[in-house]
């Protein structure tokens, strides 16, 4: 991510409130389930709420790629994203087979996105070093 470009600054301006909404909704949902013990459609709504900012984050990343005018920076990010996706898909595939055959503790699928972000972040370091 190039935070000095207009697209990078717009990205940050969208990223920060979205992450705040995520934290609020994660804790909110947790409290709601503990205190209210919701059922039916209400339970579904509360359960889905924390996922919405993450879906928004994915769209915000897409917007950055569309808006970034510096093609090299865009290229570095796209390469890093592809590495992140490859690593995430590999890790979740391995984890899935391990769960099925040797009964490792099941991994909840919402970990896929943080895993992707971490893998993308690490990849970005490597990708940037290659262009230096």
């Amino acid at each position: 991510m190039n935070n000095n470009s207009p697209a990078g600054r717009r990205y940050l301006k969208r990223f920060i409130p979205t992450m705040i909404a995520y934290v609020v909704l994660v804790f909110g949902a947790s409290f709601a389930f503990r205190l209210l013990d919701p059922t039916g459609p209400v339970a579904w709504l509360i359960a889905v709420a924390p996922a919405l900012p993450i879906v928004a984050m994915i769209a915000i990343m897409g917007l950055y790629i569309r808006e970034e005018k510096d093609e090299f920076q865009r290229n570095v990010l796209i390469e890093s994203m592809l590495w992140g996706m490859g690593l995430t898909l590999s890790a979740t595939t391995v984890a899935g087979f391990l769960e099925m055959y040797v009964h490792t503790p099941p991994m909840q699928s919402f970990w896929a996105f943080p895993l992707f972000c971490g893998a993308m972040g690490l990849s970005q370091v490597v990708v940037r070093r290659r262009y230096r």
Partner: protein, 65 residues
């Protein structure tokens, strides 16, 4: 791809940051271009060529000619 960006920049006494400002890209982009590790798109190559007042093939060398 080999190129003469560093020479052209030095002739004008510009820093990488100066060239980056003129091309409206980041300094890292200028560095990746100069080292030949990143090849610019056609639109960026045209912008570079216009900035230095030279044809693209006088700046970039794909080793084929």
């Amino acid at each position: 791809m080999k190129n003469r960006l560093k020479v052209l920049r030095a002739e004008r006494d510009w820093s990488q940051a100066d060239l980056a400002d003129r091309l409206e890209v980041s300094r890292q982009t200028v560095n990746a271009l100069e080292t030949g590790k990143y090849d610019p798109s056609l639109p960026l190559a045209f912008r570079i060529a216009r900035l230095f007042g030279q044809p693209i093939e006088a700046i970039f060398d794909d080793g084929e000619a």
